[in-house]
Point group: C3
Chain length 467, copies 3
């Protein structure tokens, strides 16, 4: 089976079987790096980094060079034609006509999907705002796999900024897919966003147990633990575990502690940064003396600042420099597969097909409320039509197909009015019982009353405000 | 015949025969891209971009990589030693001692000529301020040629910013050389500069018919048409065409509509930008329904902003993404020729040799009045001697050999005074009859009376002011 | 013998024999450039430039490409993860896990040593603040060697900014090692720093004769000569030369005049820049008419601004463009050696082993007073322990192992107190006779009284202040 011509925008673009096959190819390649040279001879990779990066960009470029390919590179919005107001789609089409594969980092969430939609060649997301960073996740998973042989059933603790870190979001979904248990240990104020939690519990089938931080758990160690995601794949270990036994279970040991830095560049205000910094606790030798960390892999996507003490660098549990180094063979394997110069056999195909949600794509009435979403940027609205998955009907919940932010729109109407079934064009509260009578294919959604009225709809007497 | 060791600074550096031979080589190369790999093995291209660019730089670098060569790259003045006050000549000599070929983009007009003068290796101008961008022109011409088989006798409409767009200036001269007819449709206020018009009519032998915009022509369609250049090569079609029949002729169809974006970064003031934006009309589906555009190639050098509607992207007449894609094989062919790894046979040599103007290069008295000309920049005046072509004698008109701006200096004198023929060192108005008695080899030209007097000349009684 | 896996941080990292062998390899390589292609096939060089550069970076990258290797490149602090507060050590470890060799330029003095300490692969210093730039020095020496066959016994004059120019500092030590005589001709106010002079006279064994500028020497020519370093290797020529005969000796000719530009970017204030500019004299045709320059090689590390007149570019004595061009083969040879793809035989080993100073590395009490030293930067103090060579004991003088700045700390104590030998923890003036009684292995050094007291020491009654 081939991955040729596919793109990697989110970690969900790869099935479990494909991830495992990619890891096998990585094993093979890292064992014979010199022999891989020439595999991509004559191929050109475009490396487009519109946000600061050292390791990701250099790692991708090294991977391509070690395969014998060439690299063209742009590293700053200001030095490119995007500064002249060009759209991402135009840029993607042009660069796609030059290069054989594109690697893109961009501050707008969903940017990589737009580039993949228009480039005509495989596209790899190297980070799109706070959304995803799937190749970092592949490095993380591959490091765990190499050390523990499997990911299924492990207990992985996530530590620090779980709100803004895109690497964490990609990792959460990947761990859930691969049936690991996840321990959330956020810095207070930087908890996992609600939309991530919702996606996690509705699509991956596990359960989320919430804890009062530092009440249920030990005062040291994982004191900031505020929730555990229990995978359906490992019922005998944690599932249905009563809260009181959590400490006992944790003492058996955490498999990996994944530390993240505060993503200050995404904080809303300088004050938020200041406050968070004071609350941010450091992972150091003292913490790692706790019993639950005896055999824990210490991980970090790097760069680190102060959240992970230098004194741990020589500790045999520290995996973060290894994690970074493995980025090269992982990316060599990925590039080879997407360019079609290598093929893989998938050991077993996933039994659980992905949830297929109905789509909402009228192109009017509602737009993504995330200001960092690519679909609402001035240079992009000219050609991007808003598009959403209807991930829930009660309450009506949309998820943007670009940035994957979820939200609950307020007003709805039916398109059936023009067929005479309804006497008048009316809009309803999304919560009302009328709303639920509208067939999905007829649904029209509005952000606001004024938006609905601008499209010629009148308020229904059955909206909550009028009852 | 070989183009090895030659530079491409302006489109005039290539004869018609050489352009045709280059296009043949491009055809050959684009049909067998993989076989070109290795042609430039061991060669190094320096890619120096001192102004924002995505497509041009990445296109050149892709071309070199697809030929198997290597690239060294500098993308910003601030990150280079030019920030330390180094001259272009020094930079050219040093980089020329590293690389086998140099590609340069620079904001100063004439910069590429200076680099070519000093580098000692072939230099390709990738855009020098508002002056020229000859490889973009080659892409444009090659796209038209591929679609229409010839350029001779076609009707090409130029649309939008015809004042600041360097791609347009290169294209105008190239179309004239290749005997196409040119329809000028400027956004009001952004008409073709006078010096371009003058060069066009004096050197290429065609005629320029001027129109009152929207009076002579249809209100829709080419409503902004203000002039037509009629090539001497196609007398039966448009030459001597009475104004009244212009509409009839146009209805027969325009071969290509070349749209350009407003070059805001070169506008004199923010107000100019604001006003122009309001007058700038958009090329969209509605416009293209006009009869004259039925089979028109829609072209744009990209990046576009709002002047060309996204709704046209799927229109079969739209050529702009193809134009960009053809940039790679065109540049592969060009690089191969200048590096001497490929040779071409010129199908037929030009019958019309270029005009040879007398040169004025005294190094004092007069300097180029264009403030963006390389010859007047602080770091360059130390070693660049002003040099001009005397392109007209009545009125006396100079054209800078660097930026090609033309101007009419005010005062002249003769160097013969020191041989005793004239009793005194006198300077004259350039308009006076005395001025025309001076032999070209004795001519001394001054910007101002004070400049003349600083060189020891006294006013002539025969200057107009004294008559 | 092999240089594989070694780093080049300062010019002292290479012995005289190694430098000569490197030059032989350079001769060999520059005679057959095409045959070198492929030597580094499959190798990756990381080119990290955190300060502006054209020639050094492009020269290194060209060298790697001409060897058939690949390059990954980062050119600006702002575009890299250092902007996120990452330490140099982390960056070095990560990039070292990608690339086979690292070239680094950085504004902090000693930065290249830190990178070399942590990268795990060979590191080449391409300039670290005002500290060193050893490959420029190799180009300089190689140019002289090619023109004069030897360096030993030559008279080399250094001209201009001898204070801030790192290329000059590297060159001074290299010339001393290779037994040349050095004539210092600084622009007034930009004399060679005292710590350089001290190292020169204590470690290289020569003598320094000082002159009153323009008193002892000719008014023209080397009028700014203020000192001569006389190598012990050439006693018959200059050593013991009475001051009165200096003019006679100089008239016999200077072998090379090494001109430098004012390093304005390192000047303390804009005023310093302004004043210096006025005092900076230009090397031009007139100066070079002086008898002592009849056969002098005119050298400059480039970029130049106004200190070296363009009128000299065609003068056969001018070597500066040749110097730049030789940067490519020199760097090809160096990269090949450090990567171990070439080996060299050392013609003769140095007879004079380097001075071995005792080390002081307690990690507290004293830190480097140079604000540009890597060891005192906020992101680096977390893991770098200050470390010094004790280069003199009377007065006690330390030299930072990172930036090589020397200084005289004020207070000392002995660590023997805790063994009960001393009744109390006391600190002493570094000048006091008590200070000199402390055994080197027991020495504790303090920057200030408050620092000493913070570590629990009390003032000794024998400190000068209390006598």
């Amino acid at each position: 089976m081939t991955l040729a011509s596919r793109s990697l925008v989110t970690i969900d673009d790869l099935s479990n079987g494909e991830i495992e096959a990619l890891f096998s190819l990585t094993d093979e390649m890292s064992g014979s790096m010199k022999e891989q040279f020439g595999l991509c001879r004559g191929k050109v990779m475009a490396s487009l980094f519109f946000e600061p990066s050292t390791r990701t960009r250099l790692s991708f470029e090294t991977a391509m060079h070690r395969l014998g390919g060439s690299v063209i590179s742009a590293v700053d919005t200001k030095a490119t034609s995007l500064a002249k107001g060009e759209s991402l789609a135009d840029m993607a089409r042009v660069v796609g006509s030059y290069a054989d594969i594109i690697v893109i980092r961009h501050p707008w969430e969903g940017a990589a999907k737009v580039v993949a939609d228009y480039a005509g060649v495989p596209v790899i997301n190297a980070g799109d705002g706070g959304h995803q960073h799937p190749t970092q996740t592949l490095c993380d998973l591959y490091t765990i796999k190499k050390e523990r042989q499997t990911i299924k059933g492990l207990k992985i603790a996530l530590w620090g900024d779980l709100k803004y870190g895109r690497t964490v979001h990609s990792l959460i979904f990947a761990l859930a897919k691969l049936e690991a248990n996840i321990l959330f240990c956020p810095t207070p104020g930087l908890e996992v966003p609600e939309h991530v939690i919702k996606k996690l519990t509705t699509e991956y089938g596990g359960e989320l147990e919430k804890y009062e931080a530092s009440a249920q758990t030990s005062e040291k160690g994982l004191s900031s633990l505020d929730a555990i995601y229990i995978t359906p794949g490992s019922p005998h270990q944690l599932a249905m575990m009563p809260n009181v036994s959590i400490q006992v279970e944790l003492k058996r040991g955490v498999d990996a502690l994944y530390v993240t830095r505060p993503q200050k560049e995404r904080f809303a205000t300088a004050e938020e940064g200041q406050e968070v910094e004071e609350r941010y606790s450091t992972v150091d030798k003292k913490l790692l003396k706790e019993k639950e960390f005896k055999r824990t892999l210490i991980m970090h996507p790097l760069p680190r600042v102060d959240e992970l003490a230098c004194e741990l660098d020589a500790d045999p549990r520290s995996m973060y420099f290894k994690q970074a180094a493995l980025g090269v063979p992982i990316r060599m394997a990925l590039i080879s597969l997407l360019l079609g110069v290598k093929e893989i056999s998938i050991p077993h195909e996933d039994s659980s097909p992905r949830t297929d949600y109905p789509l909402y794509k009228r192109g009017f009435g509602v737009k993504c409320p995330n200001p960092r979403c690519v679909s609402v940027q001035e240079s992009e609205v000219k050609y991007i039509k808003p598009e959403f998955k209807i991930v829930n009907s009660k309450p009506l919940t949309l998820r943007c197909v670009y940035c994957e932010h979820g939200f609950e729109p307020k007003y709805v109407a039916s398109s059936e009015w023009h067929e005479g079934t309804l006497a008048e064009k009316k809009y309803h509260s999304a919560q009302s019982h009328w709303a639920r009578k509208i067939k999905p294919e007829n649904l029209i959604i509005f952000d606001s009353e004024s938006e609905a009225e601008a499209h010629g709809f009148k308020p229904s007497h059955y909206t909550p405000e009028h009852r």
